[in-house]
C-alpha cells in the first residue's frame, strides 16, 4: 500500500507540475463542446436532449490524450524501468496510475460541466449527487482499460492512433451507460432507471480495474 500512495502522490505531482497540459485538455474539451453545440443549432429542446452524449464524447476524446500523456512521463526518460528496478509491483503501479488518471479526468469533467450547462441550455432539475455518481463511475470505466492500453501503446511510434483504436471498442458499454445515466441525472428520473445504469457501470468498473491490475505486469514484460 505504501508504494501505491507514493506513486499516486508522484503521479498527481507530475500532473500538477505539468498543469499547462491539463489546461490544454480543458481547452480541447471546450472546443469540442462549442463545435457540437453550434452544429445542433439553437433549438433548446434538441440541445438539452443531446447534452449528455456530447459531454461524454468530449470527455472520451480528451481522456485518450490524458491517458497517452500519463505513460509518456514514464517512458520519455526511462522512469518506468527505474520504478520496476526499485522494485515496484506492476499492480501498485497500475492502481496508482489509474487513480491519478481518474482524479485528473474528474477535474476535466468538473471544468467542462458549467460550459456544457450554458451551451446546451441545461436548466433546473439537475441532481448534483446523481450526476457526480454517474460521472465518477463513468470516468472510472474509461480510465480502467485506458490506463492498461496506454501502457501497452506507450512505446509504439503510432501510440496516438493505436490507443483510441484499441480503447474505444472496449469502452462502448460504459460510455453508453454514462450517457444514459447523465441524461437521467440532468433531466430527471421518474421511472427510477438510474440505479440500473449505475449498477452496470459499477460492474464494468470492477471488471476492468481487476483485469487491469492483473494484466499490467504482462504488458510491462518486455
Amino acid at each position: 500500500m505504501t508504494h501505491f500512495f507514493v506513486l499516486l502522490q508522484k503521479d498527481l505531482l507530475v500532473g500538477w507540475r505539468g498543469r499547462s497540459r491539463l489546461v490544454g485538455l480543458v481547452t480541447y474539451g471546450t472546443s469540442l463542446l462549442l463545435l457540437f453545440s453550434f452544429a445542433l443549432g439553437a433549438d433548446s429542446a434538441v440541445l438539452r436532449e443531446h447534452a449528455a452524449a456530447y459531454l461524454w464524447v468530449a470527455l472520451l476524446s480528451a481522456s485518450t490524450l490524458l491517458l497517452a500523456q500519463s505513460f509518456q512521463h514514464e517512458t520519455e526518460a526511462g522512469a518506468l524501468e527505474g520504478l520496476l528496478l526499485v522494485p515496484v509491483s506492476p499492480m501498485a503501479l497500475y492502481y496508482a496510475k489509474a487513480t491519478a488518471n481518474l482524479v485528473l479526468l474528474l477535474f476535466l469533467a468538473v471544468a467542462l460541466f458549467p460550459l456544457t450547462a450554458v451551451l446546451f441550455d441545461l436548466q433546473g432539475g439537475i441532481s448534483p449527487l446523481r450526476l457526480a455518481a454517474v460521472v465518477t463511475l463513468g470516468s472510472a470505466g474509461l480510465v480502467g482499460p485506458g490506463t492498461l492500453y496506454a501502457a501497452l501503446t506507450a512505446r509504439l511510434a503510432s501510440k496516438q492512433v493505436m490507443l483510441p483504436v484499441l480503447l474505444f471498442p472496449l469502452v462502448i458499454p460504459p460510455v453508453v451507460a454514462s450517457v444514459k445515466g447523465t441524461q437521467l441525472a440532468l433531466t430527471g428520473d421518474p421511472m427510477g432507471q438510474l440505479v440500473s445504469w449505475l449498477s452496470l457501470l459499477l460492474i464494468f468498473d470492477l471488471l476492468y480495474w481487476s483485469l487491469g491490475g492483473i494484466l499490467l505486469g504482462k504488458v510491462l514484460d518486455e
Binding site: L7, E81, G82
Partner: protein, 229 residues
C-alpha cells in the same frame, strides 16, 4: 569462496533473426569490478539489461545472488541498480523531488541533500527537463548512491560528461566499489575504465571475443580495431 553475485552460462539473446548476444559465460563475486568492451551493437547493453532482469534471455542460464531472476526478478531487483543511457527520472520534477520519491519507494532515509551534493546538483531546483545531458548523468549517479545496491551496472559511465564530470564519475565508481558492491562498466573509453576495473570482457557481434585482466584490455581493444580495418 562465497556464492557468486553473477553467474551466467551460455547466455544468449535473439531479437528476430539476429543474435544480439551469444554463448556468454561469466562469474563475478562480491566486490569484483568488470569492464565490458565492444563496438556499437556488440551486445553490451543487452547483456546488462538481462542482468538487470529487464530483458529475458533466449537461451542459457543466469543466476543473481544465487537465485534465478527469470523466475523471480523481484528479489534481485531490490539488490541491483542499472545506470543506463536514460536517467530513469521524471522530467517535470526536480532532482530533489525525484530522489525523494525514490527514497520513499525504497523505504530508506531521505538524504537527498547529501546525495545531490555529492554529484554537484545541490543548487539546481529546476525541473529535470531543463538539465543538460551531463547533469542528467550526475542525477543518475545520485540515484545509484541513494539505492546502495550490491550489484551496480553502468552503461557508458562517461557518456555526455565534460572533463570535470569524468573525474567525478571515477570518484563515484570507486566509492560504490569501496562499499563492497560488484560493479560492471560497459564503456568505449577503455583506457580510462580499465583503471577502475580488475577484469575485462570484450564482446564482438554478441560473442565473447576476449577475456582477461583489465590492465590488458586497451591492447585487446586496439587489436580488435586493427583487425576491423
Amino acid at each position: 569462496m562465497s556464492e557468486p553475485v553473477v553467474q551466467v552460462e551460455q547466455l544468449s539473446r535473439r531479437f528476430g533473426k539476429r543474435w544480439a548476444l551469444a554463448r556468454v559465460d561469466l562469474t563475478l563475486y562480491a566486490g569484483e569490478r568488470l569492464l565490458i568492451m565492444g563496438q556499437n551493437g556488440s551486445g553490451k547493453t543487452t547483456f546488462l539489461r538481462i542482468l538487470a532482469t529487464l530483458t529475458q534471455p533466449t537461451l542459457g542460464t543466469v543466476r543473481l545472488f544465487g537465485a534465478d531472476p527469470v523466475r523471480d526478478p523481484w528479489s534481485a531487483r531490490a539488490r541491483l541498480a542499472l545506470l543506463s543511457h536514460q536517467p530513469s527520472v521524471y522530467e517535470d520534477l526536480s532532482a530533489r523531488d525525484n530522489l525523494r520519491i525514490l527514497a520513499r519507494l525504497r523505504g530508506i532515509p531521505d538524504q537527498t541533500a547529501s546525495w545531490l551534493e555529492r554529484v554537484g546538483l545541490e543548487d539546481r531546483p529546476e525541473p529535470v527537463h531543463t538539465y543538460s545531458a551531463g547533469m542528467r548523468k550526475r542525477l543518475s549517479f545520485a540515484r545509484v548512491l541513494a539505492q546502495e545496491p550490491q550489484l551496480v551496472m553502468i552503461d557508458e559511465p562517461y557518456g555526455q560528461l565534460d572533463p570535470g564530470g569524468f573525474a567525478l564519475v571515477d570518484g563515484l565508481i570507486r566509492e560504490i566499489s569501496e562499499r563492497g558492491a560488484t560493479v560492471i562498466l560497459a564503456s568505449h573509453l577503455v583506457e580510462r575504465a580499465s583503471r577502475l576495473t580488475e577484469r575485462a570482457l570484450l564482446l564482438h557481434r554478441g560473442q565473447p571475443r576476449w577475456t582477461g585482466e583489465a590492465s590488458r584490455a586497451p591492447l585487446a581493444w586496439q587489436t580488435l580495431h586493427e583487425e576491423a580495418r
